[in-house]
Point group: C2
Chain length 224, copies 2
């Protein structure tokens, strides 16, 4: 029974890694679609989100089956419940990558946001891609030093998010400001979900349940 | 054992209702704070979010304890897993109400967004308050006709959300457009989470697991 359970946990882990790879491809392509106004790439990201949703749903069903058949307790139970939450965050990260691609598609053949914001978007996109790569690595290896790196990267994304408001407040093109505000918010939330996953892996590794903040956090984005 | 389990499920349900009541108070006060530029009310919502977080975390711990002690299967297991997901959505709804209050606080003693958007915000706020009230009722009674009402209300919020872009695209005040874009997004996400909860209750009632979309959905908001 124990051996079967360990195999099932390995299966869960493998599937999480696989979904994280899909999310990494989605944010990589979405960022590229925005930077190059590539509408077919944007559409590929939007269509591809369906696969992330399906994989995430299948993983949830597997986790619930494991709970039913194995009735895990203590740390084993926490692992399975965490897998359900990590799956939800990955699914959401896929949605956010698709939202970024959608903004790009709406503006095609034009570009998203005012000229002054483009470099910032490229930077936010690059950090989000980096975060997604680290997430794949973290889920595959459970090395908690990677969790710390993701948290540092999130601080960079937050700083870039705040900087967009400084840039946008002097813009007078309503549509460009709307797009850019949402785009920045999507990038920021993408990084938040990665941090939420990183914290779960960290606490599974350290076993420090009582410190565990199961919930995701974000700072509201607004022009201060 | 069965009787204890039923008591524990009733406890879980009661706690979900209690958190939903806190969320209803938060969105009611946040909407009022925006409409009246009431900074002390805004601060009450922001500070009050801590209580929603704590209650939600406590409920999660209870649900995990129930999984460990009772090892529920089939429908019982789905109920406990759903409670974990409903808790996460309620916690997020509390965050979104706090974000709305924060935008109001930043602008104090000024108002949020351009003049032209104010009526729309009052309408979105009123529907979100209505949704939160229905959510309390739905969680308390499990009457699935209320789930349908919440879905209809969400369609109203989505329409209002789209209408904000029509209003904002002609505005030239960057800060006002940023604030209004985020505010509208927060209201729209608030309603999305309520629909996500409504769907879970509905499927628990109908037992139609295979149709169950465990994941939350949203439409990206952008000016089309």
């Amino acid at each position: 029974m124990r051996e079967v359970f360990q195999q099932e946990l390995a299966d869960v882990q493998g599937r999480l890694v696989e979904i994280a790879r899909l999310v990494r491809a989605a944010i990589t392509d979405a960022t590229k679609a925005v930077a190059t106004s590539n509408v077919s790439l944007a559409e590929r990201v939007i269509d591809g989100d369906r696969l992330i949703d399906e994989r995430s749903l299948a993983l949830d069903e597997l986790a619930i089956e494991i709970l039913a058949r194995q009735a895990p307790v203590a740390r084993d139970l926490r692992i399975v419940v965490s897998a359900l939450r990590i799956s939800a965050s990955l699914e959401r990260m896929g949605d956010l990558a698709a939202h970024i691609a959608q903004v790009s598609r709406y503006r095609y053949p034009g570009q998203v946001g005012p000229e002054a914001i483009r470099t910032t978007f490229e930077q936010m996109g690059a950090v989000d891609v980096e975060i997604a790569s680290k997430l794949v690595e973290l889920l595959a290896t459970q090395r908690i030093d990677i969790a710390d790196e993701i948290k540092s990267d999130d601080i960079k994304v937050d700083a870039l998010h705040r900087s967009t408001f400084d840039i946008l407040q002097n813009e007078d093109d309503g549509v460009a400001v709307i797009d850019a505000t949402l785009m920045s918010r999507y990038h920021e939330r993408f990084a938040d979900h990665a941090v939420s996953i990183a914290k779960k892996i960290e606490y599974l590794a350290t076993g420090d349940w009582h410190q565990l903040d199961w919930q995701q956090r974000d700072a509201p984005g607004t022009a201060e």
